[in-house]
Amino acid sequence: MLNKTRTHFALLFILLALPFAQINAQDWIRTGTNRGAPIRLAAADFKQANPDPQTGPLQTIFDQTLWNDLDNAGIFEMVAKSFYPAGTPGAPADIKLDVWGNPPPNTSMLTFGNLGVSNKKVEVQGWLYDVKNPAAPQILGKQYVEDATTDNARLIAHRFANEIITRLGGVPGAAESKIYFISTRTGHKEVWSMDYDGANQKQLTRLGTVALSPRVSPDGSRVAFSGLTKSPESWQIMMYSLDLGRMVSFPRHGGGNYSPGWSSDGTKLAFSSSMAANGSEIFIADSSGAGARRLTNGKSDISPVFNPRTNAQIAFVSGRTGLPQIYVMDADGSNVQRVTDQGYAVSPAWSPNGLLLAFSWVRNYGPGILGGADIYVMDIASRQIVQLTHDGGRNDFPSWSLDGRHIVFQSNRSGTEQIWSVLADGTHLQQLTHEGRNTQPNWSYR
């Protein structure tokens, strides 16, 4: 097995030595996540439907959010607004298809619409047009009404963007998803949530001690995490209900209990526990916490994650041979295989299609040197590896978006630990948090 992996490294090295290595690597990731060639898309500013003083500010937020969602989707080539014809189209009657379909815009797709506030409600009408199909250009026509708040302006933009991404990209996008994470900004590590683009950051837990490793349930109703209890202190798996907005009870175990991981059907939780007083080992339990049973006896096994496609495999981290490495086993604990063979490898995260494993790796670890850790992606069948981040401090805790097109992770590249997101091909890197120290992001399943 060592030889085989070495051959792969050699292949990868040759690949990287070629001038087009970067492009090859990106193509490979795209294949893995079903990304086609980008579609040229123009997103006109929405027209103000009435002169209400709230209309202008909400329309600005709506336009920015919609543009960012589409730009970040990873499937569009956005046509710059400077190429658009004069005048803001607010309805289908305002659209001249040939003007949009020919240079300078030369776009394939166009989205446009209008937004207005009346009686404290914001109303949005939005369309998506296939510019190159004059016989039947309309792909989408949508209408939204909500209370007139900035949060709702963003929410409507996310919904409309996700309609467009779903229709043109084949699978629902990440625009309506959430990211759960740990923040120190209250003075303690607590669980927080935010929209996938970094907006709307909210504190969830109020332990006043330490909360770590938040993992949202596949149905989005609960967040499991590891929290430190007070007197006597112990690490326990804890459960926060997003539906109820408060903690709900969860069985306690002896020893330290860490790093919960959901099966994608929501029925099982894997976690690490020292309840058997033999170091930390991987356990599996019902999602109610009942029926915990031990799967490994590795003394320092942690960070179990189910393959979300099959729930038949669990990836985890173990220090059983020295520095931590990534292992994969069947969900009954059998067939344990080590999949990294050097350095310091932690924090495995399966892609939604169950084919790729993202993880954090200090690939070339030397005595006393533990500097840069980067995010890598492994094709689990071939064990081929592609590096996603480059020389940007310590990067850790990758988590995939539901469409497999984005990865969120923590990095200290800005000087403090913050949360960043990136497209799975390494482009569109952006910082999502700025206040306090923010770590261990976990992307919602929907």
Partner: protein, 244 residues
């Protein structure tokens, strides 16, 4: 002529050594740089027990260290010093070098003179449990990503086991800690192993397992936050707490 012979012997010797070394390392990866010389440190007090007002001499020796401190004061790599502690004191030697950090301690027990003509002889104050515990339960330190007990730690734990056994009502929490460089979750597992290593040594020393509780703090409760080896070493430790 004599000198020349010596010279040749030296060269031949070195060549033989080189061949031996290269003969041992048959594996293809390039040889790692020679490991830095391991750091050793010893510290002793003579006499180790004095009456109040008397002096004791501390003598220390280190190898492979270039930064040696006695109770935080920079001192020569080896030497001696006279001390006159007013009460029982543990002196702490820290030796740092390319090969790591080594610690050594020596205790000078100070006996108070029995108050001779005092009218009402007050009983000698017995130290509280907390004081006895604090004296015996010194932090123990670990190498990077390791949970192996250093020889010094084994001595500390052997002594601590005796003290705990003498106090059957005690319950002791062993707290495993890591430096900031590893990953958050893996450090919790590593801290578990560090706490468990001390627990096992105490149980081997005869302490009842019921008297011990372990917890890992991973890298969540650092004693310092600087990004240098000194601070990292201080954070790679087990701390002991007497639970009330």
């Amino acid at each position: 002529m004599n000198y020349r012979n010596k010279h040749w012997t030296l060269i031949l010797g070195m060549m033989a050594l080189l061949m031996m070394v290269s003969g041992c390392k048959k594996k293809p990866p390039p040889p790692p740089p020679p490991p830095p010389k391991p750091v050793t440190a010893t510290l002793s007090a003579n006499p180790s027990s004095i009456m109040a007002g008397q002096s004791s001499t501390l003598t220390w020796n280190t190898e492979g260290a270039d930064d040696v401190a006695l109770d935080g004061q920079k001192v020569n790599v080896s030497g001696s010093q006279s001390v006159t502690p007013a009460q029982t004191t543990t002196y702490h030697l820290s030796a740092k070098g390319a090969g790591g950090t080594q610690e050594a301690t020596a205790q000078v027990t100070v006996m108070q003179p029995t108050p001779t003509p005092t009218p009402a002889p007050t009983p000698a104050p017995t130290p509280s449990d907390d004081q006895v515990f604090a004296q015996a339960a010194q932090d123990i330190y670990f190498d990077f990503d390791k949970a192996d007990l250093r020889p010094q730690s084994q001595q500390i734990l052997a002594h601590l086991a005796e003290v705990i056994k003498a106090h059957p009502n005690w319950k002791v929490q062993i707290e495993g800690n890591c430096d900031e460089r590893g990953s958050t979750e893996y450090n919790l597992a590593l801290g578990e192993r560090r706490a468990d290593a001390a627990r096992q040594a105490l149980v081997q020393g005869g302490v009842s397992a019921d008297a011990l509780k372990t917890i890992s703090y991973g890298k969540e409760k650092p004693v310092c936050t600087e990004a240098n080896e000194d601070c990292w070493q201080r954070n790679r430790h087990d701390h002991f707490t007497l639970m009330h």
